[in-house]
């Protein structure tokens, strides 16, 4: 392919609505496209998704390619891949963006391969320099940052959740919707989903919480997490955990924060008995106010903190909780 033009964003749907990563990517796409003097394109793959196309236009897309097909009802890479490839060939963009999500993580590498190009995964920052896309991502567990460019076209990246600013949605924005047939050959889908179970606990979602209390290996038990839940409850927040704590079975896996867990950006993060490994901190990159309670004054977590208390959480958290309760009721 030649004469590539446009920044193509693969929108994502969650519970029948556009997932916030879609508008975050469109915000970035708009910025890049305006610098390049190119249009913003969006793709929407799924079943019954056509009605969401307008939302992508409101979020910054000039043109939306919709592939609406029962074969795309649930994400499976064998089904999504040919459809995504078709959209890319039709749109012929210079840049393709996917979210660093369940779908993007799985789809992007294979889509890049099909398009004979490379992909930079989990990018934090995207910029244009000399007409090329400069992609910055964390590596070595967040200890280093790498900057990449792609030698081939299209230039592809997956984008970390909450790393990009969406535009204010504008429902008066005009755009074009183009329908594309999925052309999925059922026999080419070699996998079959036989079961799905959600493990979402009730309460405020980690992704939406303004206050998060995080617990680590130093909590020592399942029961200890109840104290954190009580504290989070007082502040209308949510509880998250480190991989170490999840691996111990003290807290549900979907509540893991970090490189291989959720990316969150609360206004306040209270890290309790967490060492602050770079892989955990990778899930908190946009968080402004981090405070920590840790018995080790040398713990890495304090390098990220505004305020810290050196001490045993068992002696610090209960009086903290009481004081918060008092302040809240006062």
């Amino acid at each position: 392919m030649a004469n590539e033009s446009g920044v193509l964003v693969f929108g994502e749907v969650e519970e029948g609505a556009l997932a916030s990563i879609s508008s975050e990517m469109l915000g970035a796409a708009r910025r890049l496209a305006d610098q390049l003097g190119q249009p913003v394109q969006a793709a929407l793959l799924g079943q019954g998704v056509e009605s969401l196309a307008q939302g992508l236009i409101a979020a910054g897309a000039d043109k939306v390619y919709v592939v609406d097909d029962p074969a795309l009802a649930e994400y499976q890479s064998d089904a999504f891949l040919p459809a995504a490839e078709k959209v890319c060939r039709e749109a012929n963009p210079s840049i393709v963006l996917l979210g660093q999500t369940d779908v993007g993580r799985d789809l992007a590498p294979r889509l890049a391969f099909r398009l004979e190009t490379a992909v930079a995964m989990d990018c934090l920052d995207l910029a244009v320099s000399d007409g090329r896309l400069v992609m910055t991502r964390a590596c070595y567990g967040g200890n280093a940052n790498a900057q990449h460019t792609c030698k081939t076209m299209p230039q592809m990246a997956t984008v970390r959740v909450k790393s990009q600013e969406p535009l204010a949605p504008d429902s008066s924005r005009q755009g074009e919707v183009v329908k594309i047939a999925a052309g999925v050959d059922a026999s080419a889908v070699r996998t079959k989903i036989t079961d799905r179970r959600k493990e979402e606990a009730e309460g405020i979602r980690l992704e939406d919480a303004e206050v998060i209390v995080g617990g680590g290996r130093g909590m020592g038990s399942v029961e200890a997490f109840q104290t954190l839940e009580e504290l989070a409850g007082l502040m209308k927040g949510a509880v998250g955990a480190t991989r170490a704590a999840c691996d111990m079975g003290w807290y549900p896996i979907p509540k893991q924060i970090g490189l291989t867990g959720k990316v969150v950006s609360p206004t306040l993060y209270i890290a309790v008995a967490i060492s602050g490994a770079s892989q955990h901190m990778a899930g908190l990159s946009g968080t402004k106010n981090i405070i920590a309670v840790n018995k080790d004054p040398e713990a890495n977590i304090f390098r990220y903190c505004r305020y810290g208390i050196v001490g045993d959480w068992k002696t610090v958290i209960p009086p903290f909780l009481n004081k918060v309760r008092e302040l809240k009721s006062g």
């Binding site: 890479s77 391969f113 995964m121 280093a144 940052n145 490994a277 892989q279 890495n300 390098r303």
Partner: protein, 268 residues
């Protein structure tokens, strides 16, 4: 007999304290830390564990360990052999060096092809060096195999693969026929740790060393020459937050001071 191939990479120890982690910006390389040895990629080791569990369940199977890396990467293969795998293949050649995921996948796929017949390729969900999670999907596409990523449980029965996958809000179970590529996540559980006796036994197991020539892949397709993604800069980001430690006569006092401070700043 079921033949499983596990791809294992040797990486700088991801537990290296952040304060000791350094890069050389000129060569865009991570500097080795004195006293901290490279380790086998922990997710890939869980791939080996998954293979061993499958072998335990079906009774008989052959497990081959495959690595691409310098001479020293032999240690990763040895570790996996000591866990119970049968043989090892190491791809070592200057032509493989500094490759991106695509170039590495080409070499691994060619080696896997050479190891035919095989039923299952097991990899880690992402190697804890570049943290990308790309290589196995490309290997699968090159070999025209299905790829199931982020497994927390892998079973094989009657030639059918059953994989439980970790999703951001739960789990799903996926079935596929063999052969296939599966990547494994930490939710699989703890890997077994080799005992001294097994380490001794592993010393006798065969590790073949293959070069680019042995794979029949043109060196323009491999390593830095075959890479599509260029690394333009590698640096350690600066942390500019300064922690104010809250102190008191007692833990209660510090805790109350902290709460009051957060209230003052309208954070709670």
């Amino acid at each position: 007999m079921l033949h499983m191939i596990c791809c294992v990479k040797q990486v700088p120890d991801p537990e290296t304290p952040a304060s000791q982690f350094k890069v050389d910006e000129a060569t865009k390389k991570v500097l080795p830390v004195p006293g901290i040895q490279p380790v086998p990629d922990e997710y890939a080791i869980l791939g080996v564990e998954a293979a061993l569990r499958i072998r335990d369940a079906v009774g008989e199977a052959k497990i081959t360990i495959l690595t691409l890396g310098p001479e020293a990467a032999r240690d990763a293969v040895k570790h996996a052999l000591a866990m119970g795998a049968d043989e090892g293949v190491q791809l070592t050649d200057a032509a493989f060096e500094n490759g991106d995921s695509f170039a590495t996948a080409r070499a691994l796929a060619a080696a896997i092809k050479k190891l035919e017949p095989f039923d299952l390729v097991l990899c880690g969900r992402q190697a804890p060096d570049w943290d990308v999670g790309v290589t196995p999907s490309i290997v699968a596409d090159i070999l025209s195999l299905p790829c199931i990523t982020r497994a927390s449980n892998v079973k094989v029965s009657d030639g059918t693969l059953q994989v439980e996958r970790v999703l951001s809000d739960g789990f799903e179970t996926v079935e596929a026929s063999l052969p296939a590529v599966v990547t494994v996540s930490n939710e699989l559980g703890e890997p077994r740790y080799p005992q001294l006796k097994q380490i001794m036994a592993a010393a006798k197991k065969q590790v073949s060393v293959w070069s680019a020539g042995d794979l029949g892949v043109d060196s323009s397709q491999l390593g830095a020459a075959g890479s599509l993604l260029s690394l333009d800069r590698l640096y350690v980001p600066v942390q500019d937050v300064k922690c104010e430690f809250i102190e008191g006569e007692t833990p209660e006092e510090s805790a109350e001071k902290l709460a009051a401070k957060l209230r003052e700043e309208k954070l709670i």
